[in-house]
């Protein structure tokens, strides 16, 4: 499939949003046997550039660098309508929206300051300081998932880096408003 995409003059860019660097996303990229490039955003490039506070996201950008489609939050290439849209764009340059194709654009990210200040503190080794700032940010914007998960990752590393990500635990945290 990737050969067809590049033959059509198109490409795929995968961005792993991970504060902790390339070692965590690497196995996912390798397991998928991905031929396209994966880059790592350990900061706020994705949040700033696209105006997103949750993932997974998809964006289609044309030959001139113009944004043609976005789905920010809940993007899933396995969904038939999404898959058809993405392949149609990459192979034929067509953006064909149907009733089943969601479109979601950027929203204001009110807690971007908190996210960035926390990242600076985290980068300088002040983990507790980062956690304090991020907790304040969460009060401001509870659905800033990129920040929420970074906070969880430092407060509960055993749920993230102990061989597998504990999604059941995450669901409980959300249900209980943590």
């Amino acid at each position: 499939m990737y050969t067809e995409i590049t033959a059509a003059g198109s490409d795929i860019l995968s961005i792993a949003v991970d504060l902790q660097g390339p070692e965590l996303p690497r196995p996912f990229h390798e397991k998928a046997g991905a031929q396209f490039t994966t880059v790592v955003d350990a900061g706020t490039v994705v949040t700033r550039t696209f105006g997103v506070r949750a993932i997974p996201n998809g964006a289609l950008i044309d030959e001139d660098g113009i944004l043609r489609y976005t789905l920010y939050g809940g993007f899933d290439i396995r969904k038939p309508a999404t898959k058809k849209l993405v392949w149609g764009f990459l192979l034929d340059g067509e953006v064909t929206l149907t009733d089943e194709t969601e479109v979601k654009g950027a929203v204001d990210v009110a807690s971007l300051d908190h996210f960035e200040r926390g990242l600076e503190l985290y980068g300088s080794g002040d983990i507790e300081g980062a956690a304090v700032i991020w907790r304040q940010g969460m009060e401001l914007e509870p659905d800033h998932w990129n920040m929420r998960k970074q906070l969880w990752a430092i407060e509960h590393p055993d749920r993230f880096y102990n061989g597998k990500v504990d999604y059941d635990w995450q669901k409980v945290q959300v249900t209980e408003g943590l």
């Binding site: 961005i15 996303p25 955003d41 696209f50 289609l60 764009f89 990459l90 998960k149 990752a153």
Partner: protein, 46 residues
């Protein structure tokens, strides 16, 4: 309170360029893809 809503591109806008490092440590720019259609997927391991 900071808002970036006005600077984030809407459909039909040019996406601002950015640079990120690949898994192999190579700098990759969005503008490297100029002249191609590109699907950008954003995800996380967590």
């Amino acid at each position: 309170m900071t808002s970036i809503g006005s600077s984030a591109p809407a459909i039909g806008d040019i996406v601002p360029d950015f640079t990120l490092s690949s898994l192999d440590g190579v700098d990759v720019k969005l503008s490297d893809y100029q002249g191609k259609r590109v699907a950008v997927f954003m995800w996380a391991s967590w």
